[in-house]
């Protein structure tokens, strides 16, 4: 089940009408069966995006598609998602088994055509919600449209009268707000109308599917009746095929029974709970209460509970931030393993780039509600799209210097470096970024002179901390231990950059 985010926007209106845009026109697709990490600093909108995918927040604009079903107006319990909260939210008064079975107790409308019934219900409520949204947008548009000429006239009159600057500004602000509202709703109305058409079509499709399934089920029932009648005939005629026929009828009846149950039996629920517990490896704790488990175990119970209803998408909110360092490494692997075994499309949110790099199939780097880059972890690390991504990924952080492009050459402090590449003709200041491990120590052949402040030896390699003359940022270089003899004790060392990135002053990458 792939997840497609289309133009997703979420704006929070705080006190006194201050608007915060948490997520700004996001577009991306999560391929089926992949583990995707939403990565970014605090406040970048990643948790908001996750909660919108879950359905706990309603998006201000945009659509979310699960496969080819638009779930934007579907309430969270009907979307088929599993959500693991940051603090697990395990019900403290229920045992582990009861926690995992809790979502199974609320299964609605299962039975021979339960899913189809669900679909009809969901699509009908989608139509209702879209009609409401469309009406609201139209009303807002009309109101704003009426206001704009009135306010323009008012502004004109105020200008002619020569009013004070403040009152002119106030009227202008109102005018701009009205114009903005008009424009936003103008853009939204066609997309809402399209969605309404789509929703109405979905209702028709769903009702057809329901009718088909009902017919199918009626057929099955008739089939069993026929078999039973045949059995009765055989019994009457005293044939010796009675036993075989009885077995057949019994099998068919059991099948019918299984299809038409509207609730899961206790045995079924226990079986599912045991299966889930085995997947996350807490089968031996099924009868304990959550407070008798360690943090990592509690988290696995939370994952099992999310997986119990076999969701289409699994969502994890900062799964590792509540665990200690050692447990984090262990649980990372667990999550990766579980995702691979179940094959469920998984989205998780994190601010720890190491965590995201180690287990994701794709990383979505976000900043202030805007996607910076979506790529495989190694690509995001090695080919950052902009300075923010380069600085965010990598530990220790990338070193950034001020340089310039002059005459097609890259200059650092006036000296040319990276002479193999030719840069564009335009002369401009740029930012040069080098990862610590990309510094090369070649005796007497370096072109980046560094004033050394400290040298840390941690066995595997040595870290050289220092300054480049004329740069305000200090530099951290990681050099393999074998070369330490040339560096220890020296106040000035020269490095070469094996690989460097050049960014515009605004942050985009220059290739």
């Amino acid at each position: 089940m792939d997840v497609r985010i289309e133009n997703l926007t979420k704006t929070f209106v705080g006190k006194r009408g201050v608007e915060t845009t948490a997520v700004n026109k996001m577009n991306f697709t999560i391929p089926d069966g992949k583990l995707v990490g939403l990565l970014g600093p605090s406040g970048c909108g990643k948790s908001t995006t996750l909660y919108m995918i879950a359905g706990l927040h309603k998006p201000t604009d945009g659509h979310i598609w699960f496969g080819d079903e638009d779930v934007t107006n579907v309430p969270p319990e009907n979307r088929g998602i599993g959500l693991v909260f940051q603090n697990y939210a395990l019900y403290p008064h229920l045992s582990v088994r009861q926690n995992i079975e809790f979502p199974l107790d609320n299964v609605r409308f299962t039975g021979p055509y339960g899913e189809e019934k669900n679909r009809v219900y969901d699509s009908k409520s989608d139509v209702k919600t879209s009609e409401k949204d469309l009406a609201a947008a139209k009303k807002a548009f009309e109101k704003a449209s009426k206001q704009v000429p009135v306010l323009e006239a008012k502004l004109q009159a105020a200008k002619e009268r020569g009013d004070a600057v403040e009152s002119l500004q106030a009227v202008e602000e109102k005018l701009n707000a009205a114009k903005a509202t008009k424009k936003i709703n103008e853009e939204r109305i066609p997309s809402l109308e399209k969605h309404l058409e789509y929703a109405k079509g979905e209702v028709v499709k769903a009702e057809e599917a329901l009718a088909k399934k009902e017919a199918w089920f009626a057929e099955k029932v008739a089939e069993v009746e026929k078999e039973k009648a045949e059995l009765a005939e055989l019994v009457k005629s005293g044939s010796d095929k009675v036993e075989a026929k009885k077995a057949e009828v019994a099998k068919k009846e059991a099948e019918l029974e299984r299809i038409s149950r509207t609730k899961l039996s206790k045995a079924d629920k226990d079986a599912i709970a045991l299966e889930m517990a085995k997947v996350v490896d807490i089968a031996q704790f099924l009868d304990r209460k959550p407070k008798e488990l360690s943090g990592g175990q509690q988290q696995r119970v939370a994952i099992a509970r999310a997986l119990a209803k076999k969701p289409r998408v699994l969502l994890l909110d900062e799964p590792l931030s509540n665990l200690d360092a050692r447990l984090r490494l262990q649980t990372r692997e667990e999550i990766k393993r579980i995702q691979r075994e179940t094959g469920i499309t998984t989205v998780f949110v994190t601010h720890d780039q190491e965590e995201a790099m180690s287990i994701s199939d794709f990383i979505v780097v976000m900043k202030l509600g805007v996607i910076q880059q979506i790529d495989e972890p190694q690509k995001v690390y090695e080919e950052p799209a902009n300075l923010f991504v380069a600085k965010f990924l990598g530990s220790p952080a990338i070193n950034v210097f001020d340089g310039e492009l002059k005459g097609g050459k890259l200059l650092l402090n006036g000296k040319a470096i990276d002479t193999d590449k030719a840069y564009g003709k335009e002369d401009r200041p740029v930012k040069i970024a080098v990862r610590p491990e990309s510094f090369e120590y070649v005796e007497k052949a370096g072109n980046i002179p560094v004033d050394v402040t400290t040298v840390e030896q941690i066995g595997r390699d040595i870290t050289v901390n220092g300054y480049i003359e004329g740069q305000k940022n200090h530099i951290k270089a990681i050099i393999p231990s074998e070369l330490r003899s040339g560096i220890l004790g020296k106040a000035k060392v020269s490095f070469k950059a094996k690989r460097l990135y050049v960014f515009e002053e605004t942050g985009e990458r220059i290739k």
């Binding site: 319990e77 599993g82 939210a89 019900y91 809790f102 107790d105 609320n106």
Partner: protein
Amino acid sequence: MAAMENTLKGTEVVMDPVKAKLISKRKLIQLPQWAVAWLVLIPALIFITMFMLYPIINTFLYAFIQDFSYVPGGGSFALGQFFAGLNNELFDSVRFGLSNFAEVLDRPDFIASIGNTSILVLVEVPLTIIVSLLIATFLNSIKVLKGFYQTVFFLPYVTNTIALGLVFNLAFNKTPGGLINIMLMNVFGVKDPINWLSSTAYTEGAGLSTKFTQGVVIVLYSLWNGIAFKILVFMSGLATIDSQYYNAAKIDGASNFTIWRRITLPLLSPQILYITITSFIGAFKMYSGVMAVYQGAESTGAYFFGTVAGKDGSIEPENIGMAWIPVVGWIYKELESNYKAPGVASAASLILLGIIMVITAVQFAVSKKRVHY
């Protein structure tokens, strides 16, 4: 290390700046710490001993001494006087036995009072707890006017028992002008005014109050009186439930009722247990509430708990004030009746103690399985 010493100072104390020593104008009294502790506790201990410990021991003794008789004018020292009156043939002529208990249980009016109290408790306590639980849940879920409603529902707590009884007495007046009767007749279309509490008719041919109507008034009164504190406790309990549980339950597909039943109530169970136990204990001891409703209406006797007339409107003199007499009321009434009363009354109160203990024990046993901390 020297033991910690406390000092009791004389009234005038002077500090010597050079030697930094306290020099009192009177002699310093040095006391060890345990003595100071005892000194501070003694006033409280005297009170507790005199007004709690001694009466309890007294009661036990009264109850178990057979044929205890009460010398008038002896007051609290009746026991001592009793022993004195035996002419020092103490251990020969004092017989301990259960005759008082037998006598109590033989009295039909005592059995009736136990019945009355039980009915009132069994109706009032669950009703009050459920109503306050619902109101607390409602208060917890509204955002507008929450403070206003909280105040409204807490007001009964600050009202006086007897004053409240007067209000209920007036509201449930038997005439068409009584508040409740006005509401019933004009809003709900009831034809005749209902006689709630009185054993005389309001007008010729009108009805008399029955035990049932009187009971309704008592239960409503107790409900009004009791919900304020319970709502407070439940609301504080509800506030401790993390809202993430509700989010998780919503994602798990639970309806609002399922959430209330399977998440809210179990997480509220410690508070529910506390309220249930204390409510039952308090309700079994009910006395002033029942009396307050009647306001001693039709008799100048102090212990008036309602009168129910017979079918023909006649009233037996011994039934006056006995309609809803609770156990504690019976005990008080008994204490005034004759010189053998203290023994019998004490036996009755010990029987009440036994009943309450059994009920509390049952509640604790049930709580082990159903209360989650």
